[in-house]
C-alpha cells in the first residue's frame, strides 16, 4: 500500500462577489465547497465533471496557486494550506501543473529553450552539463527534436506545444503533476500520442498525476482511481474499474450513459439506456440544499432536500469506493428514462 502524497480535507474555495465602490461582499461563488480526497504516491487520480464544477479550481488549490478559503491541504505530511510565497518555494519544485491550452501558457516571445529552462533558473538548479544540454535532454524526453531549442512556440503544432508544456513541467523533476485538461484541445491521434507520453514518463520517473478532464473515456484509460465532481463537491470516488463497472451515484450513471458509443451496431441500445439529464447545472453561488444533484436527479426524495448525503462506502462496495448519495444505484437497476422536465427547485 503506497502512502498518501497529497491529502485534502474539507477543502473550500469561495470567490467573493463584490458590489459597489467599497467592494462590499454580496455573495460568493462556491467553486470548491468541501472536498475530501487523497492522492497516493505513484498513482493517477482522474478528476471528472461538467464544465464549472470546480475541477480547475481544485487543481489550482492542490498546487497552491490559489489559497483555500477553508479546509486543509497536506503534501508529504506538511500542512501547506496557508503557506506564503517564500514558504511555498520548495513546493514549486515538487508540484507542477500542465494546462489545457498549450498556446496561451507559453510566452510567444520566448524561445522554447528559454521557456523550458526558466524553472531551472528560478529554482537555481545546478545543471552540470550546462543549461542548454539540460533543456535538450528534456526535449528529447518528450519526443521533440533537441535542435529546435531556438524556435518559438508558434512554430509548433498544438500537440508539439503540449509536449513543450510537459517538458517545462518535468524540468524540476516534480513528484506530483496536476494536468488540467492536457489533451482536450488536441485531435484524437495527437491526444493518444500525448497520453502515451504521459504514461511513459510516469513509469520512468515515478510520477504521481492528478489528471483533470471532462472526457470520461480518456480518464478511464489513464487513471487508477477516479473522482466525479458536481457543483464543487466530490459525488463519488473509487478505483477505476469499480467506478466504471458499478457506478453508484445517479450523476455518475447519467454522465457515463451520455458518452456516445463508437459502435453503430449498438446505437439503439446506447440511446435506449441513456439517462438524459434535463435542465442546467444550478448556480454555484446558491447551490441546492441537501444533495446538490437533487434538482436533476430522478431518484430524489424528501430527505435529499434536507440532508446532505455524506461521501461514504455504500451497499457492499469495497472500502475504497465512496458515494455521496442516500439512494445509490444498485447493480442492474433500471435507470433508463428521463429526469423530470421540471424538477422541484
Amino acid at each position: 500500500m503506497s502512502e498518501n502524497l497529497l491529502e485534502v480535507t474539507g477543502l473550500q474555495k469561495h470567490f467573493p462577489i463584490t458590489k459597489g465602490l467599497f467592494k462590499r461582499q454580496v455573495g460568493a461563488v462556491r467553486a470548491v465547497d468541501g472536498i475530501d480526497l487523497t492522492v497516493q504516491a505513484g498513482e493517477t487520480l482522474g478528476l471528472v465533471g461538467e464544465s464549472g464544477c470546480g475541477k480547475s479550481t481544485a487543481g489550482r488549490l492542490f498546487t497552491r496557486i490559489l489559497e483555500p478559503t477553508g479546509g486543509k491541504i497536506v503534501f508529504e505530511g506538511q500542512d501547506i494550506s496557508h503557506r506564503n510565497m517564500a514558504q511555498l518555494r520548495p513546493l514549486r519544485r515538487d508540484v507542477q501543473m500542465i494546462f489545457q491550452d498549450p498556446y496561451s501558457s507559453l510566452n510567444p516571445r520566448h524561445t522554447i529553450g528559454t521557456i523550458i529552462s526558466a524553472p531551472l533558473q528560478i529554482q537555481n538548479i545546478p545543471t552540470p552539463q550546462g543549461l542548454k544540454k539540460a533543456v535538450q535532454e528534456l526535449l528529447e524526453l518528450v519526443g521533440l527534436n533537441p535542435e529546435h531549442y531556438n524556435r518559438y512556440p508558434h512554430e509548433f503544432s498544438g500537440g508539439q506545444r503540449q509536449r513543450i508544456g510537459i517538458a517545462r513541467a518535468l524540468a524540476l523533476r516534480p513528484k506530483l503533476i496536476i494536468a488540467d485538461e492536457p489533451v482536450s484541445a488536441l485531435d484524437v491521434s495527437i491526444q493518444a500520442q500525448v497520453v502515451n507520453l504521459l504514461e511513459d514518463l510516469q513509469s520512468e520517473f515515478d510520477l504521481t498525476y492528478v489528471f483533470i478532464a471532462h472526457d470520461l473515456s480518456v480518464v478511464r484509460h489513464i487513471s487508477d482511481r477516479v473522482a466525479v465532481m458536481y457543483l464543487g463537491k466530490v459525488m463519488e470516488i473509487a478505483n477505476r474499474d469499480d467506478l466504471y463497472k458499478n457506478p453508484r451515484h445517479p450523476y455518475t450513471v447519467a454522465l457515463m450513459s451520455a458518452v456516445p458509443v463508437p459502435d453503430p451496431v449498438r446505437r439503439d441500445r446506447a440511446q435506449r439506456n441513456r439517462v438524459l439529464l434535463t435542465g442546467d447545472v444550478p448556480s454555484p453561488i446558491n447551490p441546492p440544499s441537501g444533495c446538490r444533484f437533487r434538482t436533476r436527479c430522478w431518484k430524489a426524495q424528501d430527505i435529499c432536500a434536507t440532508e446532505e448525503p455524506p461521501l461514504v462506502t455504500r451497499l457492499d462496495d469495497p472500502a475504497s469506493h465512496l458515494t455521496a448519495c442516500h439512494f445509490p444505484v444498485v447493480d442492474d437497476e433500471a435507470v433508463t428514462g428521463r429526469t423530470p422536465a421540471a424538477a422541484p427547485a
Binding site: Q193, E199, L255, P260, V261, P262, D263, V265, R267, R274
Partner: protein, 340 residues
C-alpha cells in the same frame, strides 16, 4: 434517372495566401438522400468546415477563394448559380449550425428577434405577429423553457447548451431540407451533447431533412450517421455505410483514428495506438498518398505510395489506398482489429 437530393462532384476549394496556395479540398465527391445523415470526420485542418462552407456558398465573399466542381441540391447546381440564388437558399432550403453559437448570433439583438428576422427573410409576406409566434414555437420545440419570456433575452444570457438550442431553432425556422451541423457539440459537456444530438435526431425524423454532421468524434458519427466520409489532407480517403466502416475500416488512417481512441464500451487497453507524426501542410502536400509520411505500410507498395495519388475506388464502401484489398483485409483482421 434523377439525381440524389445532394450530389457533390469533384469539389475543389483553394485559397491564395501569402505563404502560397492552400489546397483545402481536393476532388471531393459524395451524395446524400433526403432524411439521411452523412457524418464527416477527420482531424483538424482536413477540410471539413471548408467543405460545408462551400455547400452554403460562403466562400463567394472571399476574394482569395476559388471553388470548382459541381454541387447539386435538389436538382439545382450551386457552384455556377448566381449570388442572389444562393442567398435565397441559405437559411431557407439549407442552413447551418456552428460550433460556437455566439459567433452566429448578434450580441445586440434579442435571440427572439434574430429568429424572427431569419424567418421573415424567407417569408417576406408574413406579418410580425405571426413570425413572432413561429419563433416562440421553434424555441419551445428545441426545449427552451418559458420560450415566450426567453424570446426577449440576449444570447449571453443563455447557458452554452441553451445557446446551441437557440441556434438550432434559428437554423430550423424555415424547414431546411439540408441541415449542416459543424461540430455542434464540441464545446459542450457530454450531458448537454446528448440532449442536442437527441434533439437533432428528433427534428430530423419530424422534418425529413438531410443532415451533414461534421465532427472529430467517431462516437457521435456512430450514433447519428447513415454514411461516413473520412477526410485527410483535404481529400476523401474513405467513404461508406457507417456500420460497414466501423466493422471493416479500410484505410490505414481510419485504423489510426480508431486505435487512438479510448472507448468506454471495451475493456481498457494497455496502450493506445496513435497515428504517428502530425497533420500535413495543405500548401505543400506530401507527394503520392498524402498520408505516406505517417503510414506504417507506405513501403509495401513499391514506389506507388510516394509517387502516385491513390483514387477512391470500391463500391458503396470505397477507399483511396494503393494496398491490394486482400492484403488490407488480412492486415486489418490479423494486426489491427485484435488491438482495438
Amino acid at each position: 434517372m434523377s439525381r440524389p437530393f445532394l450530389e457533390v462532384k469533384d469539389l475543389n476549394v483553394r485559397f491564395e495566401t501569402d505563404d502560397g496556395i492552400v489546397q483545402a479540398v481536393t476532388d471531393s465527391s459524395f451524395s446524400l438522400e433526403a432524411g439521411k445523415t452523412l457524418g464527416i470526420v477527420g482531424e483538424s485542418g482536413s477540410g471539413k468546415s471548408v467543405t460545408s462552407l462551400a455547400l452554403l456558398g460562403l466562400h463567394r465573399t472571399r476574394s482569395n477563394a476559388k471553388v470548382t466542381g459541381e454541387i447539386w441540391l435538389d436538382e439545382q447546381e450551386l457552384v455556377s448559380a448566381s449570388d442572389a440564388d444562393v442567398r435565397g437558399l441559405r437559411g431557407g432550403k439549407m442552413s447551418m449550425i456552428f460550433q460556437d453559437p455566439l459567433s452566429a448570433m448578434h450580441p445586440y439583438f434579442t435571440v427572439g428577434s434574430q429568429i424572427v428576422e431569419a424567418y421573415r427573410v424567407h417569408h417576406p409576406g408574413v406579418n410580425k405577429k405571426v413570425a413572432r409566434e413561429r419563433a416562440i414555437d421553434m424555441l419551445a420545440r428545441v426545449g427552451i423553457p418559458q420560450p415566450a419570456r426567453r424570446f426577449n433575452d440576449y444570447a449571453h444570457q443563455f447557458s452554452g447548451g441553451m445557446r446551441q438550442r437557440a441556434m438550432i431553432a434559428m437554423a430550423l425556422v424555415n424547414d431546411p431540407k439540408l441541415l449542416i451541423a459543424d461540430e455542434p457539440t464540441t464545446a459542450l459537456d457530454v450531458t448537454v451533447q446528448a440532449q442536442i444530438l437527441d434533439l437533432i435526431r428528433d427534428l430530423q425524423a419530424e422534418f425529413g431533412s438531410a443532415v451533414i454532421m461534421i465532427t472529430h468524434d467517431l462516437g457521435v458519427v456512430a450514433e447519428l450517421a447513415d454514411e461516413v466520409l473520412v477526410m485527410y489532407g483535404g481529400k476523401v480517403i474513405e467513404k461508406g455505410p457507417t456500420i460497414d466502416l466501423f466493422q471493416r475500416p479500410q484505410h490505414p488512417y481510419t485504423w489510426g483514428l480508431l486505435g487512438s481512441m479510448p472507448r468506454l464500451d471495451r475493456e481498457v487497453r494497455d496502450r493506445l495506438i496513435p497515428v504517428k507524426g502530425s497533420p500535413p501542410s495543405l500548401i505543400n502536400l506530401p507527394s503520392g498518398c498524402a498520408f505516406h509520411p505517417r503510414c506504417p505500410y507506405a513501403g509495401r507498395n513499391g514506389d506507388r505510395s510516394f509517387t502516385e495519388v491513390p483514387v477512391l475506388t470500391g463500391g458503396v464502401h470505397s477507399v483511396a489506398c494503393h494496398m491490394p484489398p486482400e492484403e488490407r483485409n488480412r492486415l486489418f483482421q490479423e494486426d489491427i482489429a485484435p488491438n482495438l
